[in-house]
Every structure is written in C-alpha cells, then in structure tokens.
Amino acid sequence: MLPGTRPERNEPEPEWSEPEPGRSEPEGSEPERSAARPATGPARVAVTEAAAELLRALSAKHGPLMFHQSGGCCDGSSPMCYPDGEFRVGTSDVLLARLAIEGLAEPVTFWMGGEQFERWRHTHLTVDVVPGRGGGFSLEAPEGVRFLIRSRLLTDAEDAVLNH
C-alpha cells in the first residue's frame, strides 16, 4: 500500500504550541502539532522490551528523555535519544507519540521533522535496540548499543484512525 497522493502541507495537523521555558508543559495539555493519539487507540510508535529496558537505564542517568527521528547520511534514519528538551523542537516538527514506559514517570516523546513525517506517515515504527556504535550524540552510544527503527505499513484500520 502506498500513501497515495501526498497530503497538502496545510492539511489540518493537530497543532503544536511553543513549549514553556524548560518545556514543562501544563498538566494534561497536548502539544498542538501532534500526530499522536490517545493511548487507547492505535499508535504510530511502539517500543520493544529491550528498548524499554535501555530507556529506563538511560533515564536513571539523564532524567526525562525524548527521541527525534533523524534522516540523511551516515547515522541518519536512526532515532536520536536526548535528555528531554536538549533538542529544540519547533514548528517544523511533529510529535508522533508520547511513549509510556513502565517504570518511568514521564512519557518519552517521539518527534520527527514535518517534511520527513509526510513521507513516513503511512508506516508504523517500532523502536528497538541492537549492538552498535552510533556516531551522533544519542545517549545510548557509550553503552555499545544503538536504537534502531523497525517499520511496517499501518493497517487500513490504523491508517483510517491516524491519517484521516
């Protein structure tokens, strides 16, 4: 299944609001430019148990965490994990998910650049972890492991909820 005709740029995307200083969002508020959906419905992003375990270990060292999905060369197409707020997200970014990780008080946000999202939005992503050595600043690099994205197509039912 292909994404069909590419959506218009001004397609009503749930909006995004300028984060508060320190990105402490008011309780219960959703960032506006969000493609995430309530935990009860289908999700765009999942996490393997191995990745969840690593997130717990990283969070113990670094506090709340975020992902930003990279594109391009070298270590591109890999998810980058940073202390929450270290990477400045803005109006060009889309929030795909707030990943609830057992044992972590704060969800781990998963972001992607909006243009890239348009080309990925028909796929479901699973954050996994493999042995490796990332070249960027992603927090897990010193542990000798690397977060990795595994992808599948959204089912028609998921697509109907998430993209329409």
Binding site: M1, G71, C74, P131
Partner: protein, 271 residues
C-alpha cells in the same frame, strides 16, 4: 563549525552554534538520482558500458557514501534492456575481504549499519517494491563468517516509497522508470535532499538542461563519483549548508573587513 552527518545531529549542532553566534556548514547526505535517458542505449559501445558502470556505482564503498546514487531513473524506451544489463553488471560484483584487491564490495561499517540496511530491505518489500537481485545478508563463510556483508540489491518500485526517500547507506538502489524529460526532473527533485545527481545522455542539450534543472549541489554528467579538488561540493534543501573542497570553502572561515580610509586632511564641512 563544519559537520558531516545526518539531519537531527545537524540541527542540534546549529542549535549549539546559535548559542555562540557561530556559523555552521552542514553536509547531511542525500538520495541522489542517477538518470539514464533512452539515448544511452543508442549503441552498444564504450559509452554504454560506462553508463552501466555508472549505475553500479550504488555499491561503491558498500553504498556508504553521502552521494550514493541510490535512486536510478531509467527512461521507458530502454527500461527493460538497460535494467537487464544493469542487473547482469551487478551480478558480477565480487564481495570479500576488503584487503583483497579483487574485492569490489566489502562489509558494512558496523552492526547497527547492517541492521538498519536489513530493516530497509524489509520495509521496501512490505511497501510493494520488487527485489530484482540481492535483498539479503550474505555470509561468506570461513574467516569472514559473521561479517557485516549485504548482497548488492536492486529494488524496483515507486518514488513515494520510503526506500526511494531515505538514505539507506548500504549497497541498495531503488529503480523506477520515467516517461520524458519533465517526468525525469519531477521525480529527481521529489526528495527532501539535494546533494548529488547524475545525468546520462548522448545529447548535450539534454545533459545541460537537466543539470540546470536538478536541485542538487553536484550533478555529474556522463560520469559518477568523481571528486576532483576545487569542484564545489555541498547540498540543496535538507542536504545542508555551504560548499566544501572549492576555494570558496575558505570564506566560511574568514571575515570580510572593510578599511575605510580618508586621504583628505580637511573636515567634511557638515558641522
């Protein structure tokens, strides 16, 4: 600051640089189109042979090159024949120990790189792209067993698929066909990136027009993967900012100073 890598880290570096008001140059990769017009197949001569080698350049350095020609656009008229010859050329690639001078394609740089490539081989197929050759990890046995080898892989599909839109950084090329010049340029530019590109044709006018129309910082014309000194190198769009290798690169690291000197001893007469 000069950075070569990918988009998220590039943005992070720009963000850090902004805290100090420092300029940056970025080279963030691409999804370079390699365009073969019908007239390439006008004769079975040295030029045709060179064009087939140009197609096979997707496997140079195991595809771990920012400018990897990872999209091949082949015109409809010669699509079947040219692609059959390109597959035959790919079949002849020799994989092995990178220290063996007979080896054409070695192992990938790391396990995470290998895993990423394999994940793209999977999503490419689930999106409906067809594997024409390769498509799997390779175990060469003996002392090379367990090495990070991937078979050179040719996918046939549609430019909207993720394997056409993302830099896989492996020996993987995604092939599609185009109707005419306008279609070729449209597909070539339908990407977030714009680092490299190539045009193959026997017609000088087509070559020149295409080179002007493709939004990429380097357009090889009837060649690929040449990197002579003083040839400006860098990207359009998400491929980055700035140019390297050319003398103009020095301008990124220099200030322009204006010394405004008066030769007159006289007051200007305003006050």
């Amino acid at each position: 600051m000069a950075f070569t890598g990918e988009t998220t880290t590039g943005r992070l570096i720009m963000q850090y640089a902004s805290e100090h008001i420092k300029p940056v140059t970025l080279e963030l990769g691409g999804k370079s189109p390699n365009i073969f017009f019908d007239d390439v197949s006008g004769a079975r001569d040295d030029f045709y042979d060179k064009a087939l080698e140009g197609f096979a350049m997707f496997a140079l350095n195991q595809g771990e090159v920012c400018t990897c020609p990872s999209r091949a656009l082949i015109q409809r008229g010669h699509y079947g024949d040219f692609l059959a010859d390109a597959i035959a050329r790919t079949e002849r690639m020799v994989q092995g120990n990178p220290l063996d001078t007979g080896t054409m394609v070695g192992a990938q740089a790391s396990n995470d790189q290998l895993e990423k490539i394999l994940s793209y081989l999977e999503i490419g197929q689930t999106e409906g792209a067809k594997i024409l050759i390769g498509g799997e990890r390779l175990d060469l046995g003996g002392e090379l067993s367990g090495g990070y080898y991937v078979q050179p892989t040719i996918f046939e599909g549609d430019n909207r698929m993720r394997i056409f839109q993302e830099e896989i950084f492996g020996p993987v090329v995604a092939v599609t066909r185009f109707e005419d010049y306008a279609d070729a340029i449209s597909i070539a530019n339908d990407t977030l990136y714009g680092l490299g590109a190539a045009v193959w044709t026997r017609d000088g006018t087509t070559a020149y027009r295409a080179g002007r129309a493709i939004q990429a910082g380097r357009v090889w014309t009837n060649c690929y993967h040449l990197y002579p000194a003083h040839a400006a190198f860098g990207g359009y769009k998400s491929s980055g900012i700035g140019r390297e290798n050319h003398k103009m690169m020095l301008e990124h690291y220099q200030q322009t100073k204006n010394l405004l000197v008066s030769y007159s001893a006289k007051a200007m007469g305003f006050f």
